[in-house]
Symmetry: C2
Subunit: 154 residues, 2 copies
């Protein structure tokens, strides 16, 4: 298994859980937020989905372009459907990467003010997803989810 | 930089933030928990600190022994002090690892029912820390922290 496949598997062990977690949140809690200025359930889910894709796509392209696609979901059903779309395209984009995409320098100047090997941005993307998914577990419990999955799936 | 040093740096980019985050939580919120059965602020911080050490120590030893050291902190001052102690010993234990500790199979049967290369358990330890630290950010905001750090530190 090469480093790209290993990364796909690692990311997948978390993305599957994100999808299950979103299933566990009650339908009427799409707009729930635990404190006043927090992202809501659907905003947080869309932020995770779109950020991961942006990172992976930028690593594939060799550079980050300014601007960020921020999908909006009105309902939890919307959020689940949009997440699925992003998951499919993120996985496909990840699987298109070559080992060289991990070692080649990706130009991140326009967005982050620095450049780094692709592997650094991919690691950040995964950390970012785990971080926010952890937050969504708290949201889910506070919103009344009775059963939530383990935080990663082997 | 070898894989061990790379892992230390990656883990450190999150551990420093955990310490800063704990500083940002108001003193009277040590027992705050966002839902009834959740871990409290101090319980969550101690869970992160002790789990990371257990994983790293077990990778260094080549096997996981049953049982888990679970420190208790009464106050946030206690929690910060105990976290610092764990951070110091976890970092030292990590820095003692050799590249072979990452590729050698670690016996996790007694705790997880499977064995895997050390690198797999280290990756899980870091994911676990990022996951729960993400949750602690929600706790901090709900507990009235006015300013919190970015989720990782370069």
């Amino acid at each position: 298994m090469n480093d790209v496949q290993q990364f796909v598997q690692h990311w997948w062990s978390h993305r599957q859980v994100l999808s299950e977690l979103l299933q566990a949140i009650p339908e009427d809690k799409a707009d729930f937020r635990p404190w006043e200025k927090a992202m809501s359930v659907t905003e947080l889910a869309m932020h995770i989905a779109s950020s991961a894709y942006k990172f992976v796509d930028s690593v594939a392209n060799g550079r980050f372009e300014p601007g960020w696609d921020r999908p909006q979901a009105e309902t939890l059903a919307d959020a689940r459907r949009i997440l699925d779309e992003y998951t499919t395209k993120t996985r496909a984009r990840l699987e298109s990467l070559t080992p060289a995409n991990l070692t080649d320098i990706v130009d991140g100047q326009a967005v982050f003010g620095f450049s780094a090997p692709g592997s650094v941005f991919l690691a950040s993307a995964l950390d970012h997803e785990i971080h926010h998914k952890g937050q969504l577990f708290v949201y889910a419990r506070m919103a009344g989810a009775e059963s939530v999955p383990f935080f990663s799936k082997r």
